[in-house]
Symmetry: C2
Subunit: 78 residues, 2 copies
Amino acid sequence: MSIQAIFYHAGCPVCVIAENKITDMVDRERFDLEIVHLGDNKSRLDEAEAAGVKSVPALVVDGVPLHINHGADLSALR
Amino acid sequence: MSIQAIFYHAGCPVCVIAENKITDMVDRERFDLEIVHLGDNKSRLDEAEAAGVKSVPALVVDGVPLHINHGADLSALR
């Protein structure tokens, strides 16, 4: 069964660099990677926050939030 | 040819969580992942800094630094 990984971003330059690297690196044979633009999908903000995401870009892997560099605080996207 | 990825850490709890996830996620068929403990290998500090690493844990992929959460500033390891 694939492990769930969600990459949250907001289309910012810092986000794009991280997205390119993460999508390239993740082993797609084992991980089901979803990319979520929180600016375009504000309905997913609560879910991201509940997972522990404080800023974007961030990757939530199997429930663990990994903040990757810093583009924008989640609060700035509300 | 494998793409070079170096994970720099300092053995801190934040580092260990990130290390576990990153080593699990990276596609080893395509990426050559090296793990470097900067506390034990201070001779690698200059190299990490030159790659743009400001804090650990950090992953440098193909020359691009990705800071993953925040454990310690690089300056604290010197």
